[in-house]
């Protein structure tokens, strides 16, 4: 007990140090950061810019691209829009349209998007190599259009299948892949509980079978709040099946911003205990905050999430401590960019004597989490980088959505840009 409280003290001392480390490794002068920071001063313009990024993949001709740029970005008031308006006037000159559109596409696809996602296999491979040198590994997440039909669900299943087969996992170093259950069935919803569960359990079982053969580590992603029970029910049922009872290469994400996250944590510990083998929980804070708050208001339901950032942070710590205390029944992997939370996790793990445990793994997002990753790697802590992968055109929409979601006042992008 004494040792634990001592550890907690070092935690508080550690946080600012860690934050400094993160700041140091932040690349201040990269073009996208500069661009976003410029827009960050003007919330209206920021949204417009992101709206433009969102619509870009749907545009083909130079005229459309320039037209939307003018309509969206250069229509506001203030110095930046005025500047942009001047630029957009140039677009209207004969012969300029083509070049201007090319430049915009280059800026967004080549400079901004790669900051958040990876577009092709070769980049992914070289990324993997680079990370390996520094002691970090990657986890692949597939971006794509949302699944609206059986055909698209089959396509996604095939995508996961081939990724697992060609992931190059080995018994020592498994290949990490994240799976969104809603992409396995087009009518995945709690209203359609039984069929959603039946269909998705089948697909997930199939993927776990393959994963066992090819040494892949499958993590079930957390999605919208409405899906929480469906996702957890499917996960718990599948991993408790006779054939998967012993596999440890499987995990599920848990969102700490949910008010009922602790109840889920208890349930997951119970499931792990009953099946007799540990699995992994990726503890995240949650990425759908703005969506959930808006939806709750529209449905006249109570907001099911913590509305203040600090509350989420406290809950993250609470749930993490609880799960860490059940180490070996299951494992928990902290996925956060918050230096305070990371310092807390370190303190707890240190106190429990688990800081050098082989199963401990910090998780960060590709791009946005880069400064945190570098700081962690420097400390010699194991890091898993969550890399969104997809064709630029398909992934951009998702990418923009991700940025849009996180540009609210509480969003981590804003804090990252400082």
């Amino acid at each position: 007990m004494q040792a634990k409280s001592k550890a907690c003290n070092t935690v508080l001392l550690d946080a600012p140090y860690f934050e400094r480390a993160i700041r140091k490794s932040r690349h201040r002068f990269s073009l996208p950061v500069l661009l976003l920071r410029m827009a960050g001063d003007d919330p209206g313009l920021r949204m417009k810019l992101l709206e433009f990024v969102d619509v870009l993949p749907a545009l083909y001709s130079p005229r459309e691209i320039c037209g939307h740029f003018t309509e969206l970005v250069a229509s506001g008031e203030g110095t930046v829009p005025t500047l942009l308006r001047l630029v957009s006037r140039l677009f209207a000159l004969p012969g300029m349209e083509y070049g201007a559109a090319r430049a915009l596409v280059w800026l967004i696809y080549e400079k901004l998007a790669p900051h958040f996602m990876v577009g092709d296999e070769t980049t992914l491979a070289s990324l993997k190599k680079g990370y390996k040198k520094e002691g970090a590994r990657i986890s692949v997440d597939f971006l794509g259009e949302s699944v609206t039909s059986e055909r698209e669900a089959r396509h996604f299943l095939e995508l996961y299948r081939s990724a697992i087969q060609n992931g190059g996992g080995s018994p020592k170093e498994p290949f990490h892949v994240s799976v969104k259950l809603s992409s396995l069935y087009p009518f995945f919803s709690p209203e359609n509980y039984a069929e959603s569960k039946r269909r998705v359990s089948l697909s997930l079982s199939e993927l776990l079978c393959l994963a066992e053969k090819y040494h892949a580590f499958v993590t079930v992603d957390a999605e919208q709040y409405a899906f929480r029970h469906l996702v957890e029910d499917i996960f718990c049922e599948v991993v408790s099946q006779e054939c998967f009872k012993r596999t440890e290469l499987v995990g599920i994400a848990l969102q700490a911003y949910r008010r009922d996250a602790f109840a889920s944590a208890i349930r997951l510990v119970e499931t792990a205990r009953t099946r007799g083998a540990p699995f992994l929980i990726r503890l995240v804070k949650g990425a759908y905050w703005d969506t959930e708050v808006a939806l709750a208001a529209q449905n006249n339901w109570p907001v099911p999430l913590f509305t203040k950032k600090e509350e989420t942070d406290r809950n993250f710590e609470r749930v993490f401590t609880f799960l860490a205390c059940h180490w070996k029944t299951l494992y928990v992997s902290p996925a956060t960019h918050n230096p305070e939370s990371i310092a807390y996790v370190r303190g707890i793990m240190d106190g429990l004597g688990l800081l050098s445990d082989a199963h401990l793994m910090f998780q960060v997002l590709y791009g946005l989490g880069e400064p945190v990753r570098k700081a962690l790697c420097k400390e010699g802590l194991p890091v898993l980088v969550y890399v969104p992968v997809g064709a630029m055109a398909e992934g951009m929409a998702y990418c923009a959505r991700r940025i849009l979601e996180n540009t609210s006042n509480d969003g981590f992008l804003r804090r990252l840009l400082g």
Partner: protein, 556 residues
């Protein structure tokens, strides 16, 4: 200027299916079981005030998903039943007391009705699933809508009276007041309502009429007579006197008799365009030649309070639309409740200039077709079925005739939902279908089908899409999926429809948020679920001006 506080309103929440502790599906299952054990197969009377009339001719309702199952039988109203009910109103005290009560009193009474419906949420969900084949989530949303409508009218009617009074200007020496008074010594409203929203569209106009001082003679569509009976029962259990809410099940001739009855002073109707025009003709006839038989001091014009009919609603998918959203939104709007909503999307207009590397039309249609092919058709009791049955055999025949017509006209069947033979035989099921190569003036482009049939057009410019969207006699709902601010502005401005939806589905209007109603051949412009709806229900306003000066000195 006196201050006026606007009452706060919050919508009745929908059931949260995602929370296992609420056990929504269990409750629906229990309600279905209860309905099957206790309610199904009974014979229901006509309720003409305190008289329950049973006739030998019955309307038999069958479960449209399972035609072997009989939901119940309802006695057909005879003209003498209606006369009897009206006579009771004209001779009894109930209506007199009701029309003399204040708006606030009547509003408070209706709040109790809303409470009763809240208690019976899952019973009505089950009943609608069984009688008209509505899916559970949609039926659940409809119960919320019904509760909202009652509460909205009960809340805003007293407010509007206060508003009209307080906004009157009274200078020194002059006292002005206004009151909404009954337009008729016996304000009686015939409310003739459809089966597609058997609860909400029945309850809404009834609540507006009751709060305005009318007695309601309610005729549900014959296809939703059983739900109609239980609506009447729920009103009585909230202490609304039977005379004030009378139940007259029947076919078109019952409606016609009600509308033409000289004692009926007002009509509210939702249904087909043809019947709407019939009603208007009947009202005009009564007001021009029918009045001469009535003593001068009893002469009152028959009023049409709300007359709402169909739509031929379009969604425009712009070339820069988010296809992820649009595919799902179009599909929900067109095929939700098998397209049997007046707000349903029945025309899809895709903008594609067929530029060098465009192919947007093909891309969008491919994704849409794949979704339609993925839609399961079957009983709403199994939630995996996304498309339920049509309401009856006649609706199936009508749908089939439109499909045959489409083939004859050379339209191309782009995609069709899948349906198993055994399902099809069991109930009134048809596969949802999408056609393109449809002529602009074809019946598929102009007439309301009221089934899961979507006609698709490809146009090269957004302006062309707007003009095509407006090219019908209806003006109910319209939608646009676009990410160009300019185009969205144009659509808001240029679309001719009562309710316009941008970047979302075009069905599912909510009380207080999307007051709902169309113009053109879609209705007389009333907006259900908005405060101005009440104004069309309010009787005449009597304004009194009193000179309060005596010998040049104000008596104040």
């Amino acid at each position: 200027m006196p201050t006026i506080t606007i009452p706060d309103f919050t919508n009745e929440p929908l059931s949260d299916f995602s929370d296992p502790e609420l056990r929504v599906w269990d409750k629906i299952g229990d309600a279905l079981h209860f309905a099957r054990a206790m309610v199904l197969g009974q014979t229901y009377p006509v309720i003409a005030g305190n008289y329950e009339c049973r006739s030998n001719t019955l309307i038999t309702r069958r479960n449209p998903s399972h035609t072997d199952e009989i939901i119940g039988h309802v006695s057909l109203s005879r003209p003498c039943d209606i006369d009897r009910g009206i006579h009771a109103l004209e001779t009894g005290k109930t209506l007199k007391q009701w029309m003399r009560a204040s708006y606030a009193e009547r509003g408070a009474h209706l709040m109790r009705v809303a409470e009763k419906f809240r208690e019976r949420r899952f019973f009505f969900v089950a009943l609608m699933m069984l009688e008209v084949g509505k899916s559970a989530p949609e039926a659940d949303a409809e119960v919320s809508e019904a509760i909202d409508l009652i509460r909205w009218y009960a809340l805003y009617a007293p407010f509007l009276e206060e508003f009209s009074n307080k906004t009157l200007h009274s200078p020194r020496g002059e006292k002005n007041s206004a009151a909404y008074i009954p337009a008729h010594p016996f304000p009686i409203c015939a409310s003739i309502q459809p089966w597609n929203f058997p609860l909400a569209i029945s309850v809404g106009p009834a609540a507006a009429a009751l709060v305005s001082g009318y007695a309601v003679l309610y005729k549900p569509s014959e296809q939703s007579s059983i739900t109609g009976y239980h609506i009447a029962r729920t009103f009585y259990e909230a202490d609304i006197p039977r005379e004030l809410f009378q139940f007259f099940p029947g076919y078109g001739d019952t409606g016609s008799y009600l509308v033409r009855h000289p004692s009926v002073s007002a009509v509210a109707f939702t249904g087909s365009n043809k019947v709407r025009q019939d009603i208007q003709r009947a009202i005009a006839e009564f007001n021009t030649s029918g009045l001469s038989h009535i003593p001068p001091r009893e002469r009152h014009e028959k009023r049409s309070l709300a007359l709402e009919s169909g739509g031929k609603n379009a969604i425009i998918v712009d070339s820069d639309a988010d296809f992820d959203d649009a595919v799902v939104g179009v599909c929900d709007s067109a095929f939700g409740f098998s397209g049997q909503k007046c707000s349903a999307c029945s025309r899809l207009i895709v903008v594609d200039d067929k530029g060098e590397d465009g192919k947007r039309y093909e891309t969008f249609m491919k994704r849409l077709s794949e979704r339609v092919k993925s839609l399961h058709v079957g009983s709403p009791e199994d939630p995996k079925n996304k498309v339920g049955p049509l309401v009856d055999e006649e609706a199936v025949a009508k749908f089939r005739s439109y499909v045959a017509h489409a083939h004859n006209e050379g339209c191309r069947l782009v995609a069709e939902g899948s349906i198993s033979d055994s399902t099809e035989r069991r109930g009134y099921f048809v596969p949802p279908a999408i056609f393109d190569h449809v002529g602009f003036s074809s019946r598929l482009a102009q007439e309301e089908v009221f089934g899961p049939l979507l006609s698709v057009f490809c146009v090269s410019t957004f302006q062309g899409a707007l003009s095509l969207a407006n090219d019908t006699e209806f003006a109910l709902t319209a939608g646009v999926y676009s990410r160009s601010p300019k185009h969205i502005e144009c659509a808001k401005e240029g679309l001719r429809a009562g309710n316009i939806y941008v970047n979302r589905k075009i069905t599912g209007a909510q009380v207080g948020r999307q007051p709902f109603g169309g113009f053109g051949m879609s209705g007389n412009g009333t907006k259900a679920g908005g405060w101005d709806y009440l104004l069309s229900f309010f009787p005449v306003s009597k304004v009194v001006t009193e000179n309060t000066m005596r010998r040049g000195i104000p008596l104040e």
